[in-house]
């Protein structure tokens, strides 16, 4: 009964589609029906219809953020003197780590400040939009079986991927236009503003191409998005290493697609040619995606699925064992990614010291080489903790998925109480996140030890402490999301991601935006002492942990009182 609604809905949307596809192909001529692209226009119309809200929000959201970033700087910094003061934010090694190569910061202008500090985040959003959109219309459609329904019509083999890519191209171009318009509206130079927009399109299409490839590789849409997302993360990490090493970017910056987009140096050099490798790779990826798609069946992946065990291990028969099996895959993926990131971050420590030593006099007065490194390490612990919390929110959305897909209903039909069901999942999740914090701390320490040798030893335990110290805000985020899961399950995931996105923005720009104190307080990650620069301050640690514990208890109560959602 549950599935029947879905089926009817799909049928009604595809019937006119089939007719239109058939009509389109006869109009073009008999040859068109044999084309691998037959049906592309009809599919594109279907995708536009399905995505009219979702994609409009993405495009407008990124566009508005562009307008906001371009305009806000001139409000925050009223004159050039103030601007020059603020450039330390982006020009010092930690700033470059976060934002980019910091071109032209020796002679800062508003437009250079905008290009240095903010455009990278517009590019990343364009990349995420492109990845999610491509995967949503390709692998996700195959996973649900809707692709089968589509492909049974007069639809060419490459029509779906082509339509999805055209859709993304359209969205990316609109994003590019809005971003350029935002910069132009702020009165910035035309050439640079156009270049920023073009770079957004190029980055978007690079990752759209990457998603077109990963959609062929993975059997699940989650897996396809995760693979393309991992590539984006890697691009960011590599760029971090390069950009931190020297102003204008080091060698590593040239190994990252995000690095290429920033090497255009808008408003400084206005180079267009670094966009060429982006476009070239995008074309290559798309070609690879098409080619791979001819090597597999609909709904299959290129990675063959293996047989599992005929009998379960004894551990699977307990609530904890069940929760572990459900959450294991996600936790494992996040841990591997974060530990590798931590190792990499740790190994950047040396170039941080070198870069700090090379800073001009006025900076050196503020940061000595050593305190600069401690600040860097504190920042890293915070940065990684936000991602550990993201792993937690992702685990909780999985829990919500268990309920939405009807699996929680089946689990709860056994003599397992609701409290045990939720407690088992939370226990696995919290243990996993704790381990993740410990391992990322150790990873950073290990990376630092590898490059600093003896000098690094003194910081090793500080680093583990700094990482574990972040357990409090991670717990607080989890508590808030669990409380919502108990009472307002629809909001749980959204609020979780918003909290983290807000924390990421505030951590990087908070002090720059001159926001009222309330706004700063809303950043869950903004309350702890900066270990190892400062010692541990227990008050905020305990308050945040308390919020987490209370949230979890509230969530338990709500979950026991509310109805289990029908799938």
């Amino acid at each position: 009964m549950r599935g029947s609604n879905e089926t009817t809905r799909t049928t009604t949307t595809t019937t006119p589609l089939a007719e239109r596809a058939a009509a389109a192909s006869t109009a073009v001529g008999p040859g068109a029906t044999r084309s691998p692209l037959a049906g592309t226009p009809a599919l594109l119309r279907l995708m536009l219809r399905r995505d009219r809200m979702r994609l409009s929000l993405w495009v407008l959201g990124i566009g508005l953020m562009g307008f906001y970033f371009a305009g806000a700087i001139q409000v925050v910094a009223e004159d050039r003197a103030q601007l020059a003061q603020m450039t330390t934010m982006f020009a010092d090694p930690v700033g470059r780590l976060m934002t980019g190569p910091a071109y032209g910061m020796d002679a800062p202008t508003f437009e250079r400040f905008y290009a240095t500090g903010y455009i990278l985040f517009l590019f990343i959003l364009a990349a995420l939009m492109s990845i999610f959109t491509v995967v949503r219309h390709t692998r996700a459609e195959e996973q649900t079986g809707r692709a089968e329904l589509i492909r049974a019509n007069v639809v060419g083999r490459h029509a779906t991927l082509t339509a999805a890519l055209l859709l993304v191209l359209l969205a990316d171009v609109l994003v590019g236009l809005l971003v350029s318009a935002g910069a132009l509206a702020a009165g910035y130079a035309t050439a640079g503003s156009l270049l920023v927009g073009a770079a957004a399109v190029a980055v978007g299409m690079f990752f759209a191409g990457a998603a077109a490839v990963t959609a062929q590789l993975s059997e699940s849409s989650r897996g396809a998005s995760a693979m393309a997302g991992a590539l984006l993360g890697l691009a960011y990490l590599i760029r971090m290493g390069g950009d931190m090493a020297e102003q204008g970017g080091g060698t590593l910056s040239w190994f990252s697609p995000l690095g290429w987009s920033q090497q255009t140096a808008p408003y400084v050099h206005d180079h267009w040619w670094p966009l060429l490798p982006l476009v070239g790779c995008a074309v290559g990826f798309v070609w690879l995606g098409y080619w791979l798609s001819t090597r597999r069946d609909v709904e299959a992946s290129l990675m063959p699925s293996r047989l599992g065990r005929a009998r379960a291990r004894p551990s699977l028969g307990t609530p904890m064992g069940m929760a572990y099996r459900i959450l294991r895959g996600g936790l494992r993926g996040w841990t591997i990614a974060l530990v590798l990131t931590a190792l990499l971050f740790g190994s950047y420590a040396e170039s941080m010291i070198d870069a700090a030593d090379a800073l001009p006099e006025e900076f050196a007065a503020i940061f000595s080489g050593d305190s600069m490194m401690l600040g860097y390490l504190a920042y890293i612990a915070l940065f990684l903790a936000i991602f550990v919390a993201a792993a937690g929110v992702s685990g909780l959305t999985q829990l919500h998925g268990e309920e939405a897909r009807g699996r929680a209903e089946l689990s709860l039909s056994t003599p397992m109480s609701r409290t045990r069901w939720l407690a088992a999942h939370l226990a696995v999740l919290l243990l996993g996140l704790g381990l993740m914090l410990l391992l990322t701390g150790l990873g950073t320490a290990l990376g630092a030890l590898a490059v600093l040798g003896e000098d690094g030893v003194q910081h090793a335990d500080d680093l583990v402490l700094a990482s574990l110290h972040q357990a409090a805000p991670v717990l607080a985020v989890l508590g808030i999301v669990v409380a919502l899961f108990g009472w307002l399950p629809r909001l749980a995931g959204v609020v979780g991601w918003l909290l983290l996105g807000y924390a990421a923005v505030m951590t990087n720009f908070g002090s720059l935006l001159e926001l009222p104190a309330v706004m700063e307080d809303l950043n869950v990650f903004g309350h702890l002492a900066q270990v190892p620069v400062e010692g541990v301050d227990w008050a905020p640690f305990l308050v945040l942990s308390g919020i987490g514990v209370v949230g979890i208890l509230l969530g338990m109560i709500g979950w026991n009182r509310r109805e289990v959602a029908a799938g």
């Binding site: 005929a310 459900i326 089946l410 709860l412 799938g567």
Partner: protein
């Protein structure tokens, strides 16, 4: 235990916002009884099941399962029952065998030989990841996990919707065995013939209300069989028989409807007429509902349209 009814529901109501799912539902299931719970899609069968499981809260009325309240005593009650949902969703990365074992252990005691036997009888490959299973195979996993468990009550929500005819026969055999062992079964379906073959008693639900409930013989008046027959002698005379309705001719054939308890009579009268061919089919649920309770859903009067909406 024989004193307490397994399920007793009185005047149960449930609304989802503006939609009324259950409207004064009554239901009784005695120990050891197989009870057919029959109704068209959307009549409230699954909502009833989910209230019996304590996943949903009733808005009105009384419900008891083994004498307990399904919402408050869920865990204790779940030790004695197993459930198979109508649309089985499993964890894609677990194998079928792992899911079966997991549920059997979560449910408490079970017989491992029964598990292996059922896997074999339902022809399930327990090593395959559930991601690769069809709807029918996912349903088999949930069925085996329920049937091999040591429980007193089985709640089966359209359990055979995805099974092929061969597997449906296996299912019917297994349910018959369960019944001999004294288990109670609440079996929901929208196909009359299926529950008729298995059930001691039937309840028919429509728009959230039980419209008819009783043993099969009590409901015999509802099972009017359609007979299409070609005879060498004219068959008009049959119209006068007790229990024969709507006799009409269609070319060579005579089409009539006969009450379930009059079939034997009709056959005796038919034999001397020289039967060349004979087709008899049981009524569909929708035919029954329309015949007895009218059609308030916008002028669907011909039977074929009705059958389409049920299938």
């Amino acid at each position: 235990m024989s004193e307490t009814p397994v399920i007793r529901a009185r005047g149960v109501g449930k609304t989802f916002g503006p939609v009324t799912a259950l409207d004064g539902l009554d239901l009784d299931l005695a120990p050891g009884e197989v009870h057919g719970f029959l109704g068209p899609n959307g009549a409230g069968k699954s909502t009833t099941m989910r209230i019996l499981l304590g996943l949903l809260r009733r808005d009105a009325g009384e419900v008891s399962v083994f004498g307990g309240d399904p919402w408050h005593d869920a865990v204790a009650l779940h030790r004695r029952l197993a459930y198979v949902p109508g649309d089985v969703e499993l964890w894609p990365t677990l194998s079928g065998g792992e899911v079966i074992d997991m549920f059997l252990r979560l449910r408490g005691s079970h017989d491992p030989r029964r598990r292996d036997e059922l896997i074999e009888r339902f022809a399930l490959d327990p090593r395959k990841k559930t991601r690769t299973y069809s709807k029918g195979n996912r349903q088999k996993v949930a069925l085996i996990a329920a049937l091999a468990a040591d429980v007193d009550l089985l709640l089966l929500d359209e359990p055979t919707a995805g099974l092929d005819p061969l597997m449906e026969v296996v299912f019917q055999d297994v349910i018959a065995e369960e019944q001999r062992e004294g288990r109670s079964v609440l079996l929901s379906s929208h196909i009359l013939a299926q529950v008729e073959a298995l059930s001691d008693r039937l309840s028919i639900i429509r728009d959230g209300t039980i419209v008819e409930s009783g043993s099969l013989s009590e409901l015999r008046h509802m099972t009017r069989t359609t007979v299409e027959v070609e005879t060498t002698e004219p068959a008009e005379s049959l119209a006068g028989l007790q229990g024969v309705h709507d006799l009409r001719r269609d070319g060579e054939r005579t089409i009539l409807e006969v009450d379930g308890d009059r079939v034997d009579d009709l056959m005796r009268q038919l034999a001397p007429l020289g039967v060349r061919s004979l087709v008899a089919h049981p009524p569909t649920l929708e035919q029954l509902l329309m015949r007895h309770y009218g059609d308030d859903r916008g002028g669907r009067t011909d039977d074929r349209a009705a059958e389409r909406t049920v299938s």
